[in-house]
Every structure is written in C-alpha cells, then in structure tokens.
C-alpha cells in the first residue's frame, strides 16, 4: 500500500471518516511529444477518505497539479484507475465526468479563476448553472448562502476587480461550496496571498472541513499550512515519497 502520513488525527478512523471518497490506483501520467516522453506521475496509489483534509507537498514540477487535475477528473491518466465513491470512472464519457465534477467536486485555484465580467454572486452561481433542473431562484439562494459562509454577503454585487486578493479567494471558495460538493480540491489557494490573508483562507478551509465535513485536498508549498491538515502526502519527481 502507498505511504500516506497521518499527521493530525491518528484516531481519524471514525466509521464515517474511513469511507474512501476518492481512490487512485497505480496511476501513471505520461506526457508524450514527438521527441520527448515526460513521466509526470508514476505508480501513484492514494486514498482520500470522506471528511479528510489532506495536503500534497513537493517541489515545483513534481506532479502535484497533474495529480489534482486527475483527482478533479479534468484529465485522464495514462494508466491506472480513479475511483470516486468506489466506482471506477476511467471509462466515463465526457458528459458523465462533467456531471460528476459538478455534483461532487469543488475547485479552488491559486489565481482564483474568477470571471471578471460577472459579479461576485454570478461567479458563485457558476457551478449551479450546469446543474440540470435547478431554477434561477434556487441558484441565487444557494450562492448567497455560500457567500454568507465565507463572510462576503455584503459584496455580492461587486465585481472581482473591486475585491482584494483574500476576498477573491473567498469568492472562489464560496463558488466551490455553492454546489455542495463532497470534495474540495484546492491548488495552492494561498499562493497569491500575503501571510495574513493566507492564514485567513487556511482557517476558513479548516473550518469548512471541521464544521461542514467537507473533504479537502490541498496542494501547498507551505509546510506550516500543511501541518494544520490531517495528512501530508509528499511528492518528488512524480512519485509519492512520504
């Protein structure tokens, strides 16, 4: 079995937390061009249980973001199997994968990826637009509730350019939360923020994990932030090293 380090809660094997929500088995990812073959991930085996907060660390280019893309079903592995809720999704169609992303996964990016021409609340509504059968009224209610959770209910009509970096990341978190996902994948969520704002965002993620039971997988370069999570997985040259 793969080496996975449980730093924070060795007793986290409570019945509800031991349920694997995401499992990667023998995952390989190779980028191939005409002349070069680059192995981004090599024989990765990883299980994320429901309610966990896992950090992934490693130097630049070690395959962290590729791993997150695979976990987020945005990319296909060259080899191996990805399971979501115990079901292998390798043979899923584009439509099925999109539906799974929409229902189960929320994304938070280092550069926020907010749409500048949409207001805060419209940005937060974005994942709900792709949810079949959901009306405009419900979308708006859920977006406002998500913004309330991240403390931005006074900024709903603002545009991203009118917000600070920390506020933008809060909007991105609210957007990830709005769809009620089981898993949030955060790719260096504090990478563009100063330390104070970075702390605020980490605290917010910890709070969501603790109080809402949201499973979070976070890529980070910051060891202090990683230490606050339940488990740290280290990568080097596309392989898990600790």
């Amino acid at each position: 079995m793969s080496p996975e380090t449980d730093l924070r809660q060795p007793d986290a094997a409570a019945p509800d937390r031991a349920v694997p929500v995401l499992r990667l088995r023998d995952i390989e990812k190779v980028y191939q061009t005409k002349t070069i073959e680059t192995v981004a991930l090599n024989q990765v085996n990883l299980t994320v249980n429901r309610g966990e907060f896992v950090s992934i660390m490693g130097p630049s280019g070690c395959g962290k973001s590729t791993l997150l893309s695979l976990m987020g079903l945005l990319d296909e592995p060259t080899g191996g199997v990805i399971e979501v809720d115990g079901r292998a999704v390798t043979s899923y169609s584009d439509k099925e994968l999109a539906g799974l992303r929409n229902l189960k996964i929320g994304f938070v990016f280092q550069s926020y990826h907010l749409i500048n021409d949409l207001s805060v609340v419209d940005n937060v509504e974005l994942p709900l637009l792709y949810r079949p059968g959901m009306g405009g009224k419900e979308r708006r209610q859920r977006a406002l509730a998500a913004l309330d959770k991240v403390g931005l209910n006074a900024r709903t009509g603002h545009f991203p350019a009118q917000l600070s970096g920390g506020q933008r990341q809060r909007v991105a978190i609210a957007r990830a939360l709005a769809g009620g996902p089981e898993i949030i994948l955060a790719d260096e969520p504090t990478g563009n923020l100063d330390s104070v704002m970075g702390e605020e965002i980490i605290d917010l993620l910890l709070e969501l994990n603790r109080e809402q039971g949201v499973t979070i997988v976070m890529v980070t370069h910051d060891l202090q932030q990683a230490m606050k999570t339940q488990r740290v997985i280290r990568f080097f040259d596309g392989s898990q090293v600790g």
């Binding site: 973001s65 590729t66 893309s69 987020g72 945005l74 990319d75 584009d94 439509k95 999109a98 539906g99 992303r101 929409n102 229902l103 996964i105 994304f107 990016f109 550069s111 990826h113 749409i115 021409d117 949409l118 207001s119 419209d122 509504e125 974005l126 994942p127 637009l129 792709y130 949810r131 405009g136 957007r175 769809g179």
Partner: protein, 399 residues
C-alpha cells in the same frame, strides 16, 4: 443559461460594442438589399397587364425637318396591316413599353389630386395589339368621334386614386392647372378601366396610367410616329423587311425602324438588373468582410478566454456545452445588433418611406435577421468547436 449569457454579454458591452456595430451595419445593408430584391421580385411576379410577345414596334421618321401628314401615315398603317402575317396595327405615342421614354402628368378630380401617372396616346386598336384586359367599360371606338371631352381609358389603380371605390365610367377629370375657359378637349372622360400595367420595366410596380384617344381626323403633322404591330406567331426578319419596304413604298423620304418588343423587354431587364447585381455584389463583399472580421474576433476571444473555458469545464460544463455556450454568446451579441438594426428598419414602414407597402419591408427585416443569424452562426461554428476541444487541465494551468 440564457439569462447568464445575456448578463455576460451585457457586462461585456464595451468589449462587444464593435462586434454589435458590425452586426448592426450588416443588418442595415442586408435590409436595404433585401427590400430592393423583394420589391423587385414581387413586382416581377405580378402580371404585367399586357402581352408583349409577337408585338413589334415601328418608329417611322419623316426625315430631317420633314413632317408626315396624318393621311399619309394612315395609308402606311393600312398597307402594313394588310401584309400577310400582320394581325393588328396601332398608332401610339413614343413612350412605348420597355423604352426609356416617359410622358406623365398629375390629374385632379373634385379637388382630389393623383400622383404622377403615365400618359399614352392611343388609337382604337391599341388595346387589341397589347391585349389589355378591360375591367369596366370599353376601349376607344368610332363612337367616340363626336364626344365633347377627350375619351380616356385608365388603369384600375388610377381609378382608385381618382374616384376611390366609386364607379369611374363617364366621369370627367382634368389637369390640375386651373386655366380660365378650359377647353373641353383638355378634360378627360373615362370610357373604360383596364387592369394595372407595368410598362416601364419588369421590376417596377404598376404606375397609374391614362390612355388618351388619338383622333382619327387629327390634322397634326408628325415628325415621327410610333406604331405597334401584332404579328402572327413565327414571323421574323422577312416580314420586318416587307414592313420597311412597304413604308418606303408609300414615301421614299420616310425611314422605318422595326424592333421586337421582347428584345426591348430583355434589354430593359439587363439595364435594370446591372445596378441591382452591382449592389448585391457590394453587399456580398461587405458581408464577407464582416464574416471574416467576426471569425477573427471570435478566434481571438476564445484564445483570450482559455482559462475561463477550463474553469467552466471544472465547474461541470461538457466540451459540447462549451461549444454551445460560445455559439449562444454570439447569438446573443447578434440579437443586440439585430434589435438595433430592426429598430432602424422599422422606421421605414412606419414613415411610409419611398411609398412602398409595409409587406416588403417586413419581409426584408425578417430575411436580413435570418441572414445575419446564419452568417454569425457560421462564423462562430468553427471557433466554438475549437473552444469545445480545449483541454481543461491545460487551460487552467495557463494563467
């Protein structure tokens, strides 16, 4: 999703302004072109009100500084009519169908003034040669010789302008100029009403027309005489030569030119179509330019919005969904341009511009809107497919 697209386009209105302007101008050009083509096409399909097949026109000239007495002219007409293959002959004025000569005037009846109407001189055989269709009354006949006022036959649309729905026969109208002691022959008594005619070009609408009877005992000496000849089917150059010889036989000083009316019609058709085709080509060139511009702008837009595409894919959009979204955005932008263009175009029927009926304008608005939507959809199709194929993981890493 549609509301989301409208919000997105509205919030990007500055960035989309040029695109919307381009679509607006395309719509206006297509509307103008559409109105011309629809009007011309509709007129073309409307009955012409007379038959030009197997009709020739003769232009008889008395020669430089010479005049032709009416008696000799009548002799010429009699001899031409007697030729085998000639069915009927009629004397008329120079403004023959499909020629570039026009005589027109306005008229008045009980203070009601008509628009300018084409006026023709015609003898008693004119209707027979051109096979005009009588709706009311009769064509000119010897019975009109003794009439006090000048007998006229008018078209149905002229009847509407002069008398509305009232009966026309026997009514007298005149030129609008008020002249003291107006002579009776300067007043016109309606003896018949014929179907509307389109004698100028095949693409013009029916102009109100009035035929005034040429008096057989007219003593005017003419310099030229326009004669219409209906011939039997199959007649050609041989009969044309005979006609020319017959005229020359009466008096050697006179010259004759024989033309086939169908040739005049085709010549006039070409002459009318040249500017329309030119306008069409200009419009086409403009539309191609607009299409290429749209294509480039969309291509650029998509390359600028790769991160957004990646984000939307991460949020649950399918590749096809992204393609449809970009196509949908273009349709929303098009809607803004078409709405603005439609607003301008709607003024034409509302203000009764160019005296055209409402229907061609409405058809042109619909046709222009359809064409603009089709062009923009066509231009957006390939870039949208490109957007659909963008790999989300790659797009998200690019920013």
């Amino acid at each position: 999703m549609l509301r989301h697209l409208f919000t997105l386009i509205w919030n990007r209105k500055r960035a989309n302004l040029l695109l919307i302007s381009e679509i607006f101008f395309s719509f206006v050009v297509l509307f103008g072109l559409g109105t011309v083509l629809i009007t011309a096409g509709k007129n073309f399909l409307t009955p012409r009100g007379f038959e030009s097949a197997q009709v020739w026109r003769l232009l008889v000239r008395a020669g430089q500084g010479q005049k032709m007495p009416r008696a000799e002219l009548d002799d010429v007409l009699r001899q031409v009519k007697a030729l085998p293959g000639v069915q009927t002959v009629a004397l008329t004025s120079n403004n023959l169908p499909f020629t570039f000569n026009t005589n027109n005037s306005d008229f008045v009846y009980k203070g009601r003034k008509t628009p300018f109407a084409n006026t023709y001189d015609a003898d008693d055989h004119y209707a027979e040669v051109l096979r005009l269709h009588l709706r009311e009354g009769r064509w000119f006949a010897p019975a009109d010789d003794g009439t006090h006022h000048r007998p006229v036959v008018i078209t149905e649309n002229m009847r509407q302008y002069l008398f509305g729905d009232e009966p026309a026969l026997g009514k007298i109208f005149r030129y609008p100029m008020v002249v003291k002691n107006t002579k009776p022959e300067h007043e016109f008594q309606v003896v018949g009403v014929v179907d509307n005619v389109r004698m100028t070009t095949e693409f013009d609408e029916a102009i109100p027309s009035v035929w005034m009877r040429l008096l057989p005992y007219d003593t005017t000496h003419w310099e030229t005489a326009a004669v219409l000849v209906r011939v039997a089917p199959g007649q050609g150059g041989a009969l044309q030569e005979k006609i020319a010889r017959t005229v020359a036989g009466v008096t050697r000083q006179w010259s004759t030119e024989v033309r086939v009316m169908e040739d005049d019609r085709l010549h006039r058709r070409r002459y009318t179509l040249v500017p329309v085709v030119g306008l069409g080509l200009m419009g086409l060139f403009l539309i191609i330019n607009v299409a290429l511009g749209l294509f480039g702008v969309l291509w650029y837009n998509i390359s600028q919005r790769r991160a957004e595409i990646g984000l939307r894919r991460a949020m649950g959009a399918t590749g096809a969904g992204i393609g449809w979204q970009f196509l949908g955005e273009m349709m929303v932008v098009t809607t803004f341009g078409v709405l603005l263009g439609g607003l301008l175009a709607a003024q034409f029927p509302l203000l009764n511009a160019f005296d055209l009926p409402t229907q061609p304008y409405l058809l042109a608005i619909a046709a222009a809107a359809c064409a603009v939507y089709a062009i923009t959809a066509l231009c957006a199709w390939q870039p949208s497919r490109l957007a659909a194929r963008i790999h989300p993981a790659v797009a998200l890493r690019e920013e």
